[in-house]
């Protein structure tokens, strides 16, 4: 005859004993294991800009405006090219007339409101071009501050704007340290570079990458170890813009110097 006490003891023992093999099913779920190893995502889009190769032709800006229907003559752009001229007196002169849509047609530096500053060739220490676009940050301040969630980050890391939901408050424009956001002159909602999401999600390159004849712009998948862009980022000395804001930018630069803003 089994006593009540031993019945309780034995049932606990059986329950506990069964729990171990059952829990192992959970422990060794291969899908979960893979997810934890590799945060479950197969794609994370990143961009690589080689400033040494950029000549400031502005083809990327033109291509972007056409591809993404940002009015050609509007003074806003999803991507742009900056020109840096460092002179012997230690000053840095920067400009980007019309976002360098038409390249840099004169050697004079655009200082705003139609004024230009001439710089003599013999005064120049160094000069170079830096293409800029949305950094598709891993910790995007624009997504954080959107009061209605109209701007969001996709699984593969690109930050998008829902044109049907944006209220046009401009908080994201203010929150972006890189100044990549603006109001679309036609739709009157926040607008930004999205790595040509409609193209990259179909296996194409972005419009600016295709337009660059010098290979200064490249797009890649950092989750793919065989991707040439990933290889460069992993093995060479790359830098990012304004790291101090904690935004974890995902546009990597080769040949970035301290003068770059």
């Amino acid at each position: 005859m089994i006593s009540r006490r031993s019945f309780c003891k034995k049932s606990l023992l059986i329950a506990g004993g069964l729990a171990i093999p059952f829990s192992s099913l959970e422990l060794f779920d291969p899908r979960r294991l893979e997810a934890e190893k590799n945060d479950g995502k197969k794609v994370r889009w990143v961009f690589l800009v080689d400033t040494n190769k950029c000549v400031g032709c502005g083809f990327c800006v033109k291509a972007c405006k056409t591809e993404n229907e940002v009015p050609y003559d509007a003074n806003v752009t999803r991507t742009w090219v900056e020109r840096y001229v460092v002179t012997k007196d230690g000053k840095t002169h920067i400009d980007s007339p019309k976002g360098a849509r038409d390249g840099f047609e004169t050697t004079a530096i655009d200082i705003g409101e139609g004024k230009f500053e001439e710089i003599r060739n013999e005064d120049i220490d160094k000069a170079f071009f830096v293409p800029k676009l949305c950094n598709q940050c891993d910790n995007p301040p624009c997504v954080q501050v959107c009061p209605v969630g109209a701007t969001y980050q996709t699984e593969d890391g690109v930050v998008l704007v829902d044109r049907k939901w944006c209220i046009g408050c401009g908080y994201c424009v203010m929150g972006c340290p890189y100044g990549v956001r603006f109001f679309h002159p036609v739709y009157h909602v926040a607008e930004k570079c999205n790595f040509c999401y409609h193209r990259i999600s179909k296996g194409m390159k972005t419009a600016c990458v295709d337009a660059c004849a010098f290979g200064a712009r490249r797009i890649g998948n950092i989750k793919d170890p065989d991707d040439p862009v990933t290889k460069i980022i992993m093995t060479e000395r790359v830098n990012v813009l304004k790291e101090e804001y904690g935004t974890k930018p995902q546009v990597f630069y080769l040949g970035l110097t301290k003068e770059v803003r």
């Binding site: 806003v76 705003g112 301040p141 908080y171 002159p185 009157h188 804001y245």
Partner: protein, 417 residues
Amino acid sequence: MVHGEAWTLKEFFVYPNEYIYWTIQIVMYPFMTGLVAGAFVLSSLYHVFGVKALKGIARFSLVFSFALLPVAMLPLMLHLQQPQRGIEVMMTPHFTSAIAAFGIVFSTYGMIVASELWFVYRKHFVETVEEIRRVPAGDRSPLTQLRYYFFSALTLGAQDIGHEALEADERAVKKLAAAGIPVACFLHGYAGFIFGSVKANALWMTPLMPVIFICSAVVSGVALCMLTYILTMEIRKVLARRKAQQYPELPSHHELKSAEAHVVTMTAKYLLMFMVAAITLELLDLIFRGYTAVKSWDILRSVIYERDFVNIFVIQYGLGNLLPFVLFLIPGLTVRRAAIGSMLVLLGVFMMRWNVVIGGQAFSSSLSGFMHYRLPIWPGTFEEAKEGLFGAVVVAVIPFCIFYVLNKVMPVFKETH
């Protein structure tokens, strides 16, 4: 044309997409919420802390705070690019955003002020209903009948104005006013947080911002209540003189004058206290920035000490803080001097908002260029009307219109309890 291009002048290197996106309406927003919060705090000084001397202005500022409340939202709506979707902030808030809490904070505060007003004015509503009830139903004009229905509805069926019921009302007012102070401060401190948390903006990003905003809010609210109080008392004095013979039971010209002087002197004391706190914090912020001199200080210095020098040091600190400070401190405060002083204080607080909002956009995030805001005076386009002088004046005038209407329903100068 791109939004912002009409009023932005760029100098040196500014990123191509950067414009002054937040314009005078965003200056008006913290200014108006500041007035709301300040007016409420002033009324609470009497209701919660029993500062008897402020009794005359307490009810006045409570009604005024309620009149200002809907207007706090207006500048935000006017600056949105898609104002028809503005309601989504309340319907689908995205809570990582500082703006998303606006709906909750704003409606909580609105409900507190509305219910406090109801408890304060319940006696008046019931008395009005009873007064109309004395007239036989057949003799009432349609307007009186309408008034009857309106005020009956306002009583919400609670028509007991016995001693105990009124005491219960007063207890409720006290509790609501006490609950309202933190909510009012939150409403406004949170406006400061919206700016203070923008890490991309070197001028805005400081944890002091909410506190600075609260202090200057109380200053501006008290100043506006004092100014409006003086103005309405002056009108009442003129009316009293005119009606003295016809209605001898009304307060006389002299009674009004002494009451006014008393209230103004007392309010001025509180104004000064909050002003000292506000200026101390603002200067602390400025000194700290100069002392720590981080990367952005070079451009901030040229904005603060060169480009915006007149706006900051002459108009805001000089005309808006120092001069009224002296005016209020000279012994023998007269009503006229108090009126001028509070006008200057309002100017000072407005300029403080201006220098934060517009000043914060006076430099590029590249830290290598400047932007200048050219206020659209005469509206050429709808956008310039909305975000120019015209829009700002509309926002500034509406609370006074609402106050006029509210005063018909809840007379601020009638003795209730």
